[in-house]
Amino acid sequence: MSNKSVFFNPFSKNNPVVVQILGICSVLAVTAKLEPALVMGLSVIAVLAFSNVIISLIRNTIPTNIRIIVQLVVVAGLVVIVSQLLEAFAYDVSKQLSVFIGLIITNCILMGRLEAFAMANRPWASFLDGLGNGIGYTIILVIVGFFRELLGSGTLFGFQIVPQCVYEMGYVNNGLMILPPMALIVVACIIWVHRSFNKDLQEK
């Protein structure tokens, strides 16, 4: 596989969320608003890219029977560093994301990429793979966050988008959009649209 396809495949054809159905848990948790969704995506990109590189660098030294533990330690270390950095340089956002940054550790995409790619590939390819999968994850998070915030709160990034006069005419924000089930339904809609454009992904 060329480096180019390693980087670009996760955007669509091999997207971690809508094709591999990984990392759904955080899609439910952080997409009620667009801003936390975006910061969460960026944090996952950073953690995924760097943990991929680190694991790839030490892949030949890791004893097979504790490789999952080693991967976890590396990921957990990086996640704590990211959360500390956010707390020092982006305090407001770190407060908004609070527990969810810590939950990156349990994001299945990370373990999936480390185990499936970084353990068997060179650092540069692993870096691109981490970057690509992180971006693929972020794209879905942002799309879901966009619809949930727009329909659920009438805002985007906290700014009011739905004009006040529409509310005066009797429009009401859809409170259901803010609840986790709607995140699943929005993801399902994205998968539906995605598969109807990519016929080769459809199961016979």
Partner: protein
């Protein structure tokens, strides 16, 4: 060396943990001061928010110096007491969990642009998913609420998290803390349901019943010990 041997595995994990541990300790130490400054600035911002002053960025500390003219600690009898720890650094979380009679109660005295004095009282309690906290500002006679600020760690966005929005906090302005010279904490009730007898009340957040109840309980727990202090302000 055999990479599958127990010795190798053991050594490997010890080295790995030591390296990661050092990296984490280094990050924590080198960022600590920045984080503490951020946390202190954020606390100042929250205190000012309870008197409807919005400060952000680098101006927070200046604005705080300008408006908060003093801070002190009282006990549940309303007497000022000396304490080693400054009122600002006192942990409201720890105090809120002790018995009312033993609590150290911080008070921030604030002078607004028009010269009016407000007293700001901190609160700490529990919501649905995690802690909630806030500040209530009281008019100089100690009888009515001037403003309120609430924050939370992880309440559901759009539901319980709405307690931090002005739509909710502004409901507290003008609420009475005393009825017939008896102290009643402001109650938070489900819209349309009767309020407890005597107490002034605000409507809770719809869809955030448990968080709203938490706010009510927090006000009861954290503001009630101030009743003697508030009463003494009126003389």
């Amino acid at each position: 060396m055999n990479k599958q041997s127990n010795t190798y595995t053991l050594l490997y994990i010890i080295v790995l943990v030591a390296v990661v541990g050092t990296a984490l300790a280094f990050t924590s130490i080198s960022l600590k001061e920045r984080q503490q400054n951020n946390a202190a600035a954020d606390k100042m911002r929250q205190i000012l928010a309870s008197v409807n002053i919005e400060a952000n960025g680098n101006s927070i500390a200046q604005e705080y110096e300008k408006y908060i003219i003093s801070s002190f600690i009282v006990n549940d009898k309303g007497e000022r007491i000396d304490n080693e720890v400054d009122a600002f650094d006192l942990s409201v979380e720890a105090q809120s969990k002790t018995e009312a009679a033993q609590r150290l109660l911080p008070v921030y005295q604030c002078k607004l642009d028009d010269g009016e004095i407000k007293y700001i009282l901190p609160m700490y309690g529990a919501g649905l998913w995690g802690p909630i906290w806030g500040y209530i500002s009281v008019n100089s006679d100690g009888r009515t609420i001037y403003g309120a600020y609430f924050a939370h760690q992880g309440e559901t966005p759009g539901l319980g998290a709405e307690i931090e929005k002005p739509a909710f906090t502004s409901r507290f302005a003008g609420k009475k803390l005393f009825e017939n010279n008896k102290f009643y904490p402001v109650a938070v009730v489900k819209a349309g349901q009767p309020a407890p007898e005597g107490a002034d009340y605000v409507d809770g957040v719809s869809g955030g019943t448990i968080t709203s109840k938490g706010v009510g309980a927090m006000i009861d727990n954290c503001i009630s010990p101030y009743s003697s202090f508030l009463e003494s302000l009126d003389r």
